[in-house]
Amino acid sequence: MNSMERLVAAIQGKPADRIPIFCNLLDQGARELNLSLEEYYSKGEYVAEGQLKMREKYGYDNLWSLFYVGKEAELLGCRRMIFAKDGPPNVGEMVLRRPEDIPALQVPDDIYSHPAFEEQRKCLRILRDEAGGKYPICAYLTASMTLPAILMGMEKWMSLLLTGPTALRDELLHKCSLFFQREIEAYRQAGADVLVYSNPFGSTDFITPKIFQELSLPWMQKDLQPGGTAGVVYYCGSSPFNDVIETVIEHLGIQVFYLSPMDDIRTGKRRVAGRGLTCGVINDILLIDWTREQVRAEVRRIIEAGKPGGRFLFGTLVMPFTIPEDNIRVMLEAACEFGEGETVC
C-alpha cells in the first residue's frame, strides 16, 4: 500500500496497513542539502530535492511544496524576507504600511505564471514527476481572514478588524479572498493534492463566536465556494477549533480537520462524527527537549485517542529546526508501531 492509498483509505474509512503519518519538515531540508536557509529557499529544485530526501530518509507519508508562509506576501509585492540561521524566514517588509494603502493593493490575475510563483511551480513539477500519485503533495494557503496579518502585521490587522474602518477592512478581505481563490486554483493546476487552508482567525481562541459567525464563516465561504473543498484541510495555525467543527462541516463541507495539540482528540472525532478525517497533532515544540520515553508515550496517547473507529491521521505542526533527528525517528517509529492495522467501524 503506498502513502496516497493509505491517505485515501483513511479519508474513506476503509482498512489500511496503518494510519497515515504526516511529518511537516520544512527548514530541515537545508540541512540535508548542506545549504544555508537563504540559499535553500532560493530555488524550487533545492526545496523539491530536500523534500524528497527527507521523506525517503524518515519514511513518513507526505511531501510539501511550501517554502515559507511569507511567499504569499511576495506574490502580493513584498520584496524583503528576513532569514535566520536556525529558524524560519519572516516577512521583512509590510506591503500595507497603513490601512490607507489598501485601495492600491493589486491582486495578480494569474498566479500560476507569476514570477514570484516560479520557484514553487518548479518545485511542484519535480515533486509531481518524482512522486505524484504515490505520495500526497501538500500546499499551504492562508485564508482571507488571516492573510492581512502578513501584509500589515498582526497588530494593525487586529486593530482594523475590530475597530475599523469597516469599509477598508472589507475591501482588504475582498482582495485577500480573491487572492485565495486564484492561489488555490494555481496550486491545483500545479499538482498539489492536499490543500492546507490555514486560518487562525477560524478559531475561537482568536475571535469570539460572534465574529466567527459574522465574519470568519462568510469569508471562508467566499474563499472556498468557487473552487470547492476537494483536498482542503481545515487548520487554524495550531490554535484549537473543536467547537467550530460542526459548523464548518455544515456550512463549508470541509472533510479533513487538522486539530491543534490543544484540542481534545476524542471530542474532535466525536464532532466530525464519521463525516471525514480527523488529524491528531503532536505538540512538536516539546520534541526539542523530550526523552525517547516521553516522545513514545505522547505518540501513543494521541493514537490511542484517535485511532479507534478509523478515519484518523497522525501529524505534526511545522517542526522546529532544532528538534534532534533522533526524536524525529523515535516519533515516527512509534507512530508506525501504534498506528498499525487500522480499525474500521
Binding site: 536556525d86 498582526m154 486593530s159 482568536f206 475571535i207 516539546l286
Partner: protein, 247 residues
C-alpha cells in the same frame, strides 16, 4: 477600595460608607455595560460608556479603577474558571485600557501612585508586536510605567534601557522558537545581568507562543516568570516589581 491587583486607587477611604454604597449603585450599570462591551469586542460602545459616565459625573479615577480595571480583573476570573477568552477580547480590553489611561490620568485630581517601571520589547530577530502591545495596555491600567523598546531588540539594549529607566522588570516577547530559545534572546539578557552583577536589580518576564506551548521553557532560558496572556502578564509583572522593591 483596594482593587484585586493591590493597586492604590486614590478613591479609597471614603468617609461615608453609605455614600459609597450609593455610589456603587450609581456606577453598577456602567460597570456592567462596559464589561459587556469588552466581551462583545465592541470598541465604540465601550468608549461610549466611558464618555457617558464622564458626562454624568463619574470621576476619571472612578472610570479607571472602578470600571476599566475591574473589567480586566473579571476577565482574569473568567479564565481561571475555564471560560474561554479570545485574543480579540484581550486586545480590546487592553486597547481601551491604554486609551483611557492616556486620556484620563492627566485629569486625575492627584497623580496616582505608580506601581513601578518596566521596559519591554520583542526579542532580537523577532518582529511580532501584538503580544507586547496587549501586555503594555494591561500594564498601564495596573499603573505600571512602561517603556516600549519596540521590535527586534538586542539583549544589550534591554539591559541598558532598564538601567536608564531605573526599571524593576525587563519584559521580552518572542513568537518563534529560535527567538525564544536562541543565543540573542532572554538567555543573553540573563548572562549580561549576571556579568554586570545586576540580577538583584532586575527581574525578567517573558511571553509568546513558544512559552505557551512549553510552560517550562521560561526557566530554561533564564527568565523569572512568564504569562499566558496579557492580563496574566500584568499580574505576574506587578508581582515581580514588588519582589524587587522589597529587597
Amino acid at each position: 477600595m483596594q482593587s484585586g491587583s493591590g493597586i492604590k486607587t486614590g478613591v479609597e477611604d471614603r468617609p461615608d460608607e453609605k455614600m459609597d454604597a450609593a455610589r456603587q449603585v450609581f456606577l453598577s450599570p456602567f460597570i456592567r455595560r462596559y464589561h459587556e462591551a469588552i466581551l462583545d469586542t465592541d470598541h465604540p460602545f465601550a468608549r461610549q460608556v466611558v464618555t457617558e459616565g464622564l458626562e454624568q459625573g463619574i470621576l476619571p479615577e472612578e472610570i479607571l479603577f472602578k470600571i476599566v480595571l475591574p473589567s480586566i480583573e473579571q476577565i482574569m476570573v473568567s479564565v481561571s474558571e475555564a471560560r474561554d477568552i479570545s485574543l480579540a477580547q484581550y486586545f480590546i480590553a487592553s486597547q481601551i485600557a491604554s486609551e483611557v489611561v492616556e486620556e484620563l490620568i492627566p485629569r486625575f485630581r492627584q497623580s496616582p501612585d505608580m506601581v513601578g517601571r518596566v521596559v519591554i520589547g520583542t526579542a532580537s530577530g523577532d518582529f511580532h508586536g501584538l503580544g507586547k502591545r496587549i501586555v503594555i495596555g494591561c500594564l498601564k491600567a495596573m499603573m505600571v510605567e512602561v517603556f516600549d523598546l519596540g521590535l527586534n531588540v538586542a539583549p544589550e539594549q534591554f539591559v541598558e534601557a532598564a538601567l536608564r529607566a531605573n526599571a524593576q522588570v525587563i519584559g521580552i516577547s518572542a513568537m518563534m522558537i529560535h527567538t525564544a530559545r536562541g543565543e540573542n534572546g532572554c538567555r543573553k539578557v540573563r548572562q549580561i545581568l549576571k556579568e554586570q552583577c545586576l540580577e538583584e536589580r532586575f527581574r525578567i518576564a517573558v511571553g509568546g507562543a513558544p512559552y505557551r506551548f512549553n510552560p517550562d521553557l521560561y526557566r530554561q532560558v533564564g527568565a523569572d516568570a512568564c504569562a499566558e496572556n496579557g492580563i496574566a502578564a500584568g499580574k505576574v509583572i506587578t508581582g515581580l516589581i514588588r519582589e524587587v522593591q522589597r529587597r
